[in-house]
Subunit: 156 residues, 2 copies
């Protein structure tokens, strides 16, 4: 147990949260810290290499190693060898990692509304040229999340 990154208590937290019935908690077990989220953001922006992440985030290399390993183990990133000599790996998004983009945009949309002053990075649809304005809706009803009453059903 805990053979790889055993000295991080996060693993214990992860175990607790990972087994909860709440899917939010389960997800947070994997990406419930700012570094992981920012690494995912940068991965979506096209960064793949250790030093690219390190310079972009100004993160300590120990932290970066731990986070990249965790995200790789959890299936959001994939280690890909791009040079055999010297042995060099890059980290690319998996399908699960690419599917994380809506979460980042939802967070960004909240930030634009409530922390939006000053200079901000903006995102545009490459086809239409319009600025992207993310809304999270229920696919079934089309209603934005939060505009209708919700019934919560616990398992068991």
């Amino acid at each position: 147990m805990n053979l790889v990154v055993s000295h991080y208590q996060k693993d214990i937290d992860m175990k607790n949260l990972s087994n909860q019935p709440c899917l939010i908690a389960r997800s947070l077990a994997l990406v419930g810290d700012a570094w992981s989220m920012l690494i995912m953001r940068d991965a979506h922006a096209g960064l793949t290499r250790f030093d690219e992440f390190r310079k972009s985030l100004e993160i300590a290399p120990t932290m970066l190693t731990a986070r990249l390993s965790a995200l790789t183990e959890d299936g959001l990133l994939e280690k890909r060898r791009y040079s055999d000599r010297p042995p060099r790996d890059e980290y690319v998004l998996t399908e699960a990692g690419r599917d994380f983009l809506p979460v980042l945009f939802a967070i960004g949309a909240w930030g634009r509304k409530y922390r939006g002053g000053g200079d901000v990075t903006r995102f545009f649809d490459a086809q239409t040229g319009t600025e992207i304005d993310p809304v999270t809706i229920d696919r079934e009803t089309g209603a934005p999340v939060g505009t209708r009453a919700i019934r919560t059903v616990l398992p068991g």
Copy 2:
């Protein structure tokens, strides 16, 4: 500077992240940890009191005090006195806090897809009775986030 919760280095991180042009980073400065997110989840589930959060999350009271204070200061929760004697406060969602729900649902949707086995908590539309299936779309084009090319524009 840092008069209120000065002994937490998170404040320093917050300052760094809060001034970044990236709105994702700015948001993560406030809620970029699992406890804050889970407190927000529980607040949306109707919890308001210190001990309700403490029991639900099994969080150390010191942590809970710190997180509730931070979320209150950041405008996601509001402290409301519900008893003068003894003095008792509860924490209720502000508009900014309520608007955070889409983020939680986006995270939950990702979790359902990639960590969805076993017993899970589910959410239904109270009107239609259908299970909520959150999708984050661009309000302008209607396209789900991640299905189209994005152009990033940095400030300045």
